[in-house]
């Protein structure tokens, strides 16, 4: 028997406890990853090709205050600008949505916005059709899939922020941007529906180069200083971060909850580990008596503890990755687990262990339901009604999970190690429990 098998055998000799410990670590780490992913999704600015060049110009008062359309002439003359287009957030309710529509609708100038959406892939004939028809719109692939739209369909929107309703004809489907959900339509159509108020929501500007972008931002801000409608131009990144800062205390709260989750994790793991070691105190004393050094005993304990924690990290971390990236596969895996539990239930019932059998059935049902929900939703968009798009588990997050698991393993091993070190062989041999 090698040392490695000795450690593995020791870790698994109480299979139930090992399973429970691994699962509780796995669940907490799953939670940690989920919180991190959600935070990243909510807080992190988009990072596609064009985002470093894009500048967003809004009214200095607030985003809700419109800008005069006449500013376009001034913007066109500012050096370093490649393209400018109005971007008015319509924010209508799509027909059938009760309270909340998960995609945005922007009124843009189709002739001007091409360079601003350089990542978008749109077939040329569809672009032509969009340019030609004032009441038409192009729709992101994700929204098309979600509502099963096709070219030629009409979309009805009830205005929430603008006092008008719109009907738009789908003439094109684009994809390739960081957020393939949005609907883009003609600013001129919005103007007409509102009775030509001569205002736009925001201007989106594309700078000539990354180096020039900050200069362009300054020039725009200066150009409208002390005018009747002062503006705030900022990079897309700063714009998004400004939004994030409005979330205020909620962000801190989520961070703190992550810390609480971690703390709970440490507690549980430490308690389990010390239980496992207390149980075989006598054995460790025998090992000591046989001539194993303290250092070697430490290594046993540490290896077992870290091993269990890392096993939990593997399940929790990769489980999260699997569920969020390939939700359908994750659902099927869960369904298989449920099937296993169900088989266990049947087996127990045959063996006339009624109560445990029924308990296994009770455990199988929620797992099966969860699996079915996940498999049916198919993706995080489906599951959260389009609120979350990517839910990308980054390598950094998985790295963090393993670091946490490692630290956890060491922390959990500390108390038992101290106890083992303190106890003399005779004392250890005398221990009963």
């Amino acid at each position: 028997m090698t040392l490695a098998t000795f450690i593995v055998k020791n870790a698994l000799r109480n299979k139930r406890r090992a399973t429970l410990s691994i699962l509780s670590v796995a669940i907490s780490l799953f939670l940690l990853v989920t919180l991190q992913v959600a935070m990243r999704e909510l807080m992190n600015p988009i990072n596609d090709e064009g985002s470093s060049l894009r500048i967003i110009v809004r009214n200095k008062v607030s985003l809700a205050q419109p800008l005069p359309a006449r500013q376009l002439q001034v913007l066109d003359r500012i050096p370093g600008i490649v393209a400018v287009s109005p971007f008015s957030f319509f924010g209508g309710l799509y027909k059938g949505d009760e309270k909340f529509t998960s995609f945005a609708q922007f009124a843009v100038d189709p002739k001007r916005c091409g360079p601003l959406l350089s990542d978008a892939k749109l077939p040329p004939e569809q672009l032509q059709a969009w340019l030609a028809d004032r009441t038409s719109c192009i729709v992101g692939k994700l929204t098309v899939d979600r509502y099963q739209l096709k070219i030629g369909d009409r979309m009805q929107f009830t205005g929430q922020y603008y006092p008008c309703d719109l009907e738009l004809k789908v003439v094109g489907i684009y994809q390739g941007t960081a957020d393939d959900r949005n609907v883009m339509f003609h600013q001129s159509y919005l103007d007409e529906s509102l009775g030509k108020p001569g205002t736009v929501g925001t201007w989106w500007v594309r700078a000539a180069s990354v180096d020039e972008a900050p200069l362009v931002t300054d020039r725009i801000n200066k150009a409208f200083a002390n005018s009747s409608a002062e503006v705030r131009a900022e990079s897309e990144r700063a714009f998004v971060l400004g939004f994030v800062s409005m979330w205020a205390n909620i962000k801190t709260l989520i961070t703190r909850i992550s810390v609480v989750v971690l703390f709970a994790l440490v507690l549980v793991a430490v308690s389990t580990m010390s239980m496992a070691i207390r149980e075989r105190f006598r054995e460790l004393a025998i090992l000591k008596a046989l001539g194993f050094k303290r250092r070697e005993l430490f290594a046993f304990i540490l290896a077992e503890s870290v091993g269990l924690a890392v096993a939990g990290a593997l399940i929790g971390g990769f489980g999260a990755w699997l569920v969020f990236t390939y939700m359908r596969v994750g659902g099927i895996v869960l369904a298989l687990v449920a099937l296993g539990l169900f088989a266990m239930c049947v087996y127990l019932l045959i063996k006339r262990q009624w109560l445990t059998g029924i308990l296994a059935l009770f455990a199988a049902m929620p797992v099966a339901m969860l699996g079915a929900t996940l498999a049916q939703a198919g993706s995080i968009q489906g599951l959260t009604n389009g609120m979350f798009l990517l839910f990308e588990v980054t390598p950094q997050m998985l790295g963090l999970v393993f670091v946490v698991a490692g630290v956890l393993g060491v922390l959990a091993a500390l108390a038992p190690m101290i106890a083992v070190a303190r106890t003399s062989v005779v004392q250890g041999l005398k221990t009963l429990d």
Partner: protein, 415 residues
């Protein structure tokens, strides 16, 4: 015969090391659950607190909130003569047309108002490099809801009182800010002023909405608001009705008239529905609670299996003495339940520490900073405790059944 309750309690206490770990674990789960639900409860309470039973709120059809609503002046000219609306002693209709504007303003740099415990915790976290040492950062910016009101509008909202300074003078660019917002935004002290939309507003007073949604607003003169922010439309109408019958008549008349695209409902009802912000917090709280409780069940199971394992002989002895299987199961369930209840109490006590603490976030309806308080209601505490006991009992069930199933002879032989 049942085992004495003392048996269960003392058993839980004698293994204090693993008991503490389990209690703390369950306590943390309950803490997170109660705290998040208390946030949602706070948001709901603040909007449920708002409004007067005798008022009718009129907004544009399709708008979810008055800040997103636009109503023309012609509509106002017609509606103000509706006879369903109450008259004051001068014979004028008690109706107010408000103008709401969203203004982006700098926050105060975050002051250190954390409790001693939080300070100590953050010191530890900084020492462990889990948190950056606090840099003197600016507080960022956030949207504030400005309400342009007339004297009528103030009459209609008796909840709002001045707590410092005075009301604004109509026709002047003076502003009364919410006392609760004043603690969060720069230049909001009485006498200070700030710029927005080519105008400089002087803060002349602090208002207090008595825990209502008005605590998240700043009030200025309606005409000034319209001219500074270039609005020729109103945002919402608020009308007083003399009795319940005229309320339903007014609602029916406004909604039934095809000339207006307006929606009328009782003000209380309108605010009761402004709780979209609470929904995701509730959802997050529920999700975290379920996930963490599964982990806690596993942990409780581990503890109880170990407890049962260490007491195998004792349980055998009890059986020999004539205690029934179900007495043993019951005693163990009681032990698990007791452990969990201690955890639950701990979690609730710690969460209660935050009760009444004022916090803020961006409201989904208004896109402006909404101020509210953590509200730990008795219902929440009961929920938290029940939740804890359920976790404890589920965690104990399997170990207890196992203990009761042990053959007596084998159990007695166990070392």
């Amino acid at each position: 015969m049942a085992l004495p309750i003392k048996y269960s309690v003392r058993n839980a206490l004698v293994r204090w090391r693993s008991t503490i770990a389990t209690v703390l674990g369950i306590g943390l789960v309950v803490f997170v659950f109660v705290l998040l639900q208390s946030l949602a409860a706070g948001i709901e309470k603040s909007s449920g607190n708002t409004g007067d039973r005798r008022n009718v709120m009129i907004v544009r059809k399709g708008s979810t909130a008055e800040s997103a609503s636009l109503i023309s002046r012609e509509d106002f000219q017609q509606i103000r003569y509706f006879e369903e609306i109450a008259r004051n002693e001068n014979g004028e209709a008690v109706i107010s047309a408000d103008v709401l504007a969203l203004v982006n303003l700098p926050r105060k740099p975050p002051e250190d108002n954390s409790s001693a415990f939080e300070r100590r915790l953050s010191k530890i976290l900084i020492a462990l490099h889990l948190k950056d040492a606090k840099k003197p950062v600016s507080g960022g910016e956030a949207n504030v809801l400005l309400r342009g009101v007339t004297a009528r509008g103030m009459e209609l909202r008796p909840q709002v009182k001045i707590v410092a300074g005075r009301w604004f003078t109509p026709g002047k660019r003076e502003i009364v800010v919410s006392a609760k917002l004043a603690r969060r935004f720069a230049n909001f002290d009485v006498g200070q002023s700030f710029r927005s939309g080519n105008a400089t507003f002087t803060v002349v007073g602090w208002l207090d909405g008595g825990g209502s949604a008005f605590d998240s607003e700043c009030w200025i003169d309606a005409d000034e608001c319209r001219s500074v922010f270039e609005r020729d439309m109103y945002s919402s109408f608020l009308a007083r009705v003399p009795d319940a019958k005229s309320m339903s008549n007014l609602v029916a008349r406004v909604e039934g008239d095809r000339r207006f695209k307006l929606k009328a409902e009782s003000e209380v009802e309108y605010y009761r529905k402004q709780t979209m912000t609470a929904a995701p917090i509730k959802w997050l709280g529920g999700f975290l609670a379920v996930m963490m409780s599964v982990g806690a069940v596993f942990a409780a199971m581990n503890t109880m299996y170990a407890a049962v394992g260490a007491r195998t002989r004792e349980i055998g002895t009890l059986r020999v003495l004539g205690f029934r299987r179900r007495a043993v199961v019951f005693a163990l369930l009681l032990e698990g339940g007791f452990l969990a209840l201690m955890g639950g109490v701990l979690g609730c006590v710690v969460a209660y520490h935050w009760n009444g603490y004022t916090t803020a976030t961006m409201g989904f309806e208004t896109f402006s900073e909404i101020v509210f308080q953590f509200t730990v209601t008795p219902g929440l505490i009961v929920k938290g405790l029940v939740f804890a006991v359920i976790v404890g009992i589920i965690g104990t069930l399997l170990p207890a059944i196992r203990a009761s199933r042990l053959p007596v002879i084998d159990a007695l032989k166990a070392i």
